[in-house]
Symmetry: C2
Subunit: 406 residues, 2 copies
């Protein structure tokens, strides 16, 4: 059994780094606050007797040796970066539960067969630098290091220069490290477990998701003197496109979701017809074919609206993360661990992307979900119960040992 | 006759202060660039033998004495601030044509009866600090000094602290100065004069305009895990409201215009449903009753859309500038001046707001328009012809003398 109070205290302690007035965290990846929480994490891992390695993408690996160190490590982890208006649990729970497992092994002197590692992945959220799960993606060979280094935030700063700036560019080549398995615990970020009063979600996979960037170009002109019929207003076009993107998910009920989360208007002046609007599109469904169909519908709608309003619209796909099925043996280890601990549980598919989705490409992988209040996440009020956090970390501990004992 | 080349050269010289790669100007009010162009203007006025006074709103008055200095001055002017993507003529033409008239009077040793002044009004554009025509509004008693000082830009800086910062807070109480008349020359900013091949627009008035700020509040949540039917997406709501605002003008053809020029999305992250959207609304029509009807329709639509989507929407009116009719004697002086110079001309109502609209409340006022290319304004490609600029300034000179000789 893990030390639930110690885990909770660690979550609350790190929550102060970037903590917001509304009780959330704003700790965007590769900012000074990200450096601070990384420093905290490295110190805590070293104190727990681990050896810390940082790879060239800033991913942090803390290893506790096993009896046979020629075996690839069983890894746990998630991310310490947050959304601009993030909560205290998203990502943090997975990293600190992994740390708590290592602390518990140390306290009890338990010797695993394989080494055990806890990992903090860089830029999981994808909020500052799109796409999400960028550094676990490089680890899994989905993206190149150069591609990742060149990703820009909305101010034009690159991932690479910001990683160098905070001093977390390691030397180990990203992806060189072989993992024996990967377990990630996370809040569900949706309402299902709470609705059904289940403590543990045995995650069988992750739905498919694609991201796009759309730039709509019209013609800037004076709001008071440009007659309606002569306007080429990029925001009127973008508004219709937002409505169309929303409709595309409604046409594939009940599981499809579609979102425009980011929009920038230029020049953004009250008495100028917007000349350019930039916005993001996020499409998701558990089946890749449905995501593909949604993409076609979105492209068609955007093209049609642009033509109707004499606007130009450029659509760029910036992410395609196909649906993932996790490893049956790892999923089985989670399920057994939940059962043996006596926690109510059910199988579940993740609606959110996770580093585990990319890890599944290079190592046997599974995830553990715990409920979060009203399913709310990516919101400063995000909340999880002490007992659920404890239960999740205990399932993580037991799943790792289960897998280690096979 | 004014010196057309000297006027053109002055326009091109000041256009370098904040000049953009696309040939426009970005010289937002009360920035360092605004200070630079003010310094240039003050020096040029002093060189032309004028006495310069700055009032407490940063309005700059340069006076050339007349034969009878107990008479209130005949004033000319406009503004040197620009939109973020403004052109070289909007506002600048009016100030520098006034300066050119004073230079011409000096060159020829012409003595007017009344003193003649050229004025640079602070924050005409309303882009950085809403509403537009703020400091001429204080001069005319429409706004108080405290109200103006407290206006905030989108970063939260106030008009008052920025005016102090650039060192253009004068001591004269704003509005204390009595004006005998006010003449403003401006580019039309619309297509009518060019379409009809007229050189001079004799402006008889300004249409009514109102500005609003709308804040739509929904609930931030995860783009991947929040089912469509549980969403309270503020951007989906705002998108429908943009469409509704656009339709309101279309319902009052052909003269009504309505625009959403500024929009900010929060937290503006690709995988978060927007929790809050802030946007501006600009409604205009030559008849105040139609503007009032449009306001009712916009409020109704925003309320209905918010209710449909379980969002909250707060609407605040931030500006109401009723339709203006200019002084018949001043309009007559412009018309006579156009005729005597042999320029083709027509009467016209301004679609844009101008400092003259507020001056009309405290002094006999009129305006002179010249064509601009394709009617384009509030755009870096804004352009006017040398001959039209010369014609406009000659009409200004003659209208002032005409009025002075009554
Ligand atoms: N877990 C999580 O919120 N990840 C961010 C990537 C996504 O948008 O799903
Ligand atoms: N002339 C001009 O563009 N003034 C700005 C105020 C307005 O929006 O009409």
């Amino acid at each position: 059994q893990i030390n639930a109070q110690r885990l909770w205290d660690s979550i609350m302690e790190t929550a102060k780094i970037g903590g917001t007035a509304k009780g959330g965290i704003c700790r965007l990846t590769l900012t000074d606050l990200d450096r601070q929480v990384r420093d905290w994490f490295v110190a805590a891992c070293e104190e727990a007797g681990c050896t810390v390695t940082v790879d060239e993408m800033g991913n942090i690996f803390a290893r506790r040796p096993g009896k046979d160190n020629s075996l690839p490590p069983i890894a746990m982890g998630s991310h310490l970066d947050t959304q601009p208006t993030g909560g205290k649990f998203d990502g943090v729970l997975g990293v600190l539960s992994g740390l708590e497992v290592l602390r518990t092994l140390k306290d009890t002197g338990y010797e695993t067969n394989a080494p055990v590692e806890v990992i903090n992945w860089t830029n999981e959220e994808g909020s500052r630098f799109a796409p999400a799960m960028l550094a676990s993606g490089v680890f899994a060979g989905v993206f190149t290091r150069d591609y990742a280094d060149g990703r820009k935030d909305r101010e034009g700063k690159t991932f690479g220069e910001e990683l160098d700036r905070i001093g977390y560019r390691g030397t180990e080549k990203c992806g060189d490290r072989k993992l024996g398995a990967f377990f990630e615990i996370h809040i569900e970020q949706g309402p299902i477990l709470e609705d059904e009063d289940k403590v543990i979600g045995v995650v069988t996979g992750v739905q498919g998701m694609r991201w796009y960037e759309v730039t709509v170009t019209g013609f800037e002109s004076h709001a008071g003197t440009t007659p309606m019929h002569l306007r080429r207003d990029a925001l009127v076009g973008a508004a219709r496109m937002v409505e169309a993107v929303n409709k595309v998910a409604l046409a594939h009920p009940p599981l499809a979701v579609s979102t425009v989360g980011l929009m920038e208007v230029r020049p953004n002046s009250r008495n100028i017809l917007p000349g350019e609007v930039f916005f993001s599109v996020d499409l998701r469904h558990p089946e890749d074919e449905v995501v593909a169909a949604m993409e076609i519908e979105v492209r068609e709608a955007i093209g049609r609206i642009a033509a109707e309003l004499k606007l130009e619209a450029a659509i760029e796909q910036v992410w395609d993360s196909p649906a993932v099925k996790f490893d049956p043996a790892c999923v089985g280890a989670v399920s057994t661990a939940a059962k043996e601990n006596g926690y109510s549980h059910r199988e579940i598919v993740s609606g959110a992307g996770h580093d585990a989705a990319y890890m599944a490409r290079v190592a046997p992988t599974a995830m553990i979900f715990i409920p979060c209040e009203k399913g709310i996440s990516h919101n400063e009020v995000e909340s999880a119960e002490f007992d659920h956090v404890a239960a999740g970390a205990n399932v993580l501990l037991r799943a790792v040992l289960e897998y280690d004992n096979r």
